[in-house]
């Protein structure tokens, strides 16, 4: 592959990101702008931005790679990623927006009237964010190595550099525009090459005639996933989405609860359309690039397939587009996470000032860079799936019970988060120590037992400490669930 293609694509995306960041710099003036764009973002913009932020390296590269590896079993990943948003819409979107809080720790502190809960939640949120950034940086390392031949560390360093610059320069206001742009970039980057590849296939080439059905062309000897693995994965993805810090912070930029719901509805449409394309790549990959699965490069499928199926200059151009989309994915998810982590860290450690926010942004990007450079890349969709399991076992129970159950107490919340975090964290550590081949499925996909355990502990401890239900609970529950004044909904 022509190395110039990769470098040019990355430079173009970075430049576009920085330009939009600068454009935002001129309109963000107040501290409120830096945090949540003063809640004035329209549903369409906001939905595109949520989609742009949510579609990470796992969605852009990992889903197609996993489909190449394990066929229809991997189709549950995009389904779960999308259905997670349905759960978010059903149980979280409007109440969380009405809570008026900026971050998850803000919400738990207000709901339970407890600083201790705030600290534990902050810790969990920062941990989740860091765990989630690491696979993005692994994806960047992979993309740089495959497409340019440069050393792998260049990718993560470049991504972190661009993200720090954008966030420090513009805060959330410009981030919203950057993210919205990046959703459409990612969609285009996957859709256009697919169209050309299908045209090339249908154009009377002999290749189309000998296309084997994908399910029979299994390039690896992987056993099909059992019902336990699929159910556990779905539990992780369905409940994990609720607690992702970068997803939640987006809802505060909706003007009210009803528009938060409308935004989520649009997001579901955007995600559904997007995930058709990684699925198509995976299918084509099974037929035309099964060797990638055998050589352990399944995650590079999306980057390599257009060049393979369409040679010459056209192939190079399409590859450039796909590489641009991939970097869009790394940049958007990383910057979304960095913004939300910076929001949490700056309020808890640096007193909530703009300068503190900038400092916190740099800290939240540097730590995962260090972790990423010390660890090996695994299957991207799989490692992100584990982060979902962790979120589902820690933040999700507190959030769901906090919104819907009057009996939640601070002691219950802390006990639940600690239980879920320890159980799921140990499963993740044990899994990485044992290696993928040796890990039994109940450790590899822990959500099916860690999530119920966290819920059970939260409820039992809350019941045992029922005297600690905060006095502000009634007012808070009323605020979470009653519609805003009619004035506020008819804009």
């Amino acid at each position: 592959m022509n190395p110039v293609v990769g470098v040019a694509a990355f430079a173009a995306v970075s430049l576009a990101t920085a330009v939009i960041g600068f454009y935002g710099l001129r309109i963000s003036r107040t501290t409120g702008d830096f945090y949540v764009a003063s809640r004035t973002v329209k549903p369409w913009w906001n939905a595109s931005a949520i989609g742009g932020e949510y579609l990470s390296a796992a969605s852009f590269l990992g889903v197609a790679g996993l489909i190449l590896l394990s066929g229809t079993d991997a189709l549950w990943y995009p389904v779960g990623y999308t259905a997670g948003y349905l759960m978010l819409l059903l149980f979280v979107a409007a109440p969380l927006r009405r809570s008026g809080a900026y971050t998850i720790p803000d919400f738990t502190e207000a709901r339970l009237d407890s600083r201790a809960v705030r600290r534990v939640t902050s810790l969990v949120v920062v941990l989740v964010g860091w765990l989630y950034i690491v696979p993005q940086l692994h994806g960047a390392a992979l993309a740089i190595r495959i497409t340019t031949g440069l050393p792998a560390w260049v990718g993560p360093v470049a991504v972190v550099g661009v993200v720090c610059f954008t966030v420090v320069a513009g805060g959330m206001r410009s981030i919203t525009f950057v993210q919205a742009f990046q959703y459409w970039l990612k969609l285009t980057a996957l859709a256009v090459p697919i169209v050309f590849m299908l045209l090339a296939l249908g154009g009377g080439d002999s290749a189309a005639a000998e296309l084997p059905p994908p399910s029979t062309a299994n390039p690896t000897a992987l056993a099909p996933a059992g019902p336990y693995q699929i159910i556990s994965l779905l539990v992780a993805l369905l409940f994990g989405t609720l607690g992702l810090p970068h997803v939640l912070v987006r809802f505060y930029t909706n003007p009210d609860g009803q528009s938060a719901r409308r935004t989520t509805l649009i997001v579901l449409g955007l995600l559904s359309v997007f995930y058709l394309f990684p699925t198509a790549y995976g299918m084509l990959g099974r037929a035309f690039a099964p060797d990638l699965a055998r050589s352990g490069q399944a995650d590079a499928l999306v980057l390599l397939l257009p060049g393979r199926m369409i040679g010459g200059v056209a192939g190079d151009l399409l590859t450039a587009l796909v590489v641009a989309g991939a970097f869009g994915a790394f940049l958007s998810t990383t910057s979304g996470l960095v913004v939300s982590l910076a929001g949490v860290i700056s309020q808890d450690v640096f007193g909530g000032s703009v300068r503190g926010f900038r400092l916190a942004a740099v800290v939240s990007a540097m730590v995962p860079l260090g972790i990423a450079s010390m660890t090996e890349s695994q299957a991207l969709a799989g490692s992100v799936g584990l982060v979902f399991a962790f979120t589902a076992s820690t933040i999700c129970p507190v959030l769901l019970l906090g919104i819907w159950w009057r009996g939640l107490t601070d002691a219950g919340a802390i006990a639940g988060m600690v239980t879920g975090g320890v159980l799921c964290g140990s499963a993740m550590v044990a899994g990485s120590v044992l290696g993928a081949a040796q890990t039994p499925s109940w450790l590899a996909q822990p959500a099916a037992w860690t999530v119920p355990a966290a819920f059970a502990v939260t409820i039992l401890v809350s019941r045992a400490t029922r005297g600690r239900v905060p006095r502000t609970m009634t007012r808070l529950m009323t605020r979470l669930h009653t519609p805003e004044r009619p004035l506020a909904t008819e804009r």
Partner: protein
């Protein structure tokens, strides 16, 4: 440690700010909702709480029903594929049926569930407004 909480004003509610309404709360969340302090007082009365509780219950029931319905449909997909022999390997427009069903067929179900939920949730809130006498 001092913390500066940054709250952006809710641009729309500010049209009708009532004087002396800033008393809305020991809770950390003092958004732009103080305009409705009297409203909040009404909501905290016994009758007000009755309406609020019934609203929360109906929204929770709605969420659970939609979630359960969606999960049942989603779990039915692999069951159908497993139980009807040969179905998974039949083809639609040259594509294997199991891929089409799982890779594309579930998304419309998600979209439909979401749309139904948003519509009904808004209706529940409208009914609450009528009951609570919101003007």
């Amino acid at each position: 440690m001092t913390r500066v909480r940054v709250t952006a004003p809710r641009s729309v509610t500010s049209g009708s700010v009532t004087p002396g309404s800033a008393a809305s709360g020991s809770a950390a969340l003092t958004g732009g909702r103080s305009a409705a302090a009297s409203q909040e007082a009404a909501e905290e009365s016994d009758a007000g709480q009755l309406f609020v509780r019934s609203l929360i219950r109906s929204q929770l029931r709605l969420g659970l029903v939609v979630a359960l319905g969606f999960l049942l449909i989603m779990l039915a997909f692999p069951l159908v594929l497993g139980l009807v022999p040969g179905l998974a390997h039949s083809t639609i427009a040259g594509l294997p049926f199991d891929w089409v069903l799982l890779g594309a067929g579930i998304y419309p179900v998600i979209g439909l569930s979401a749309w139904l939920y948003v519509r009904t949730a808004a209706r529940n809130e409208a009914r609450y407004r009528d009951l609570a006498g919101d003007k």
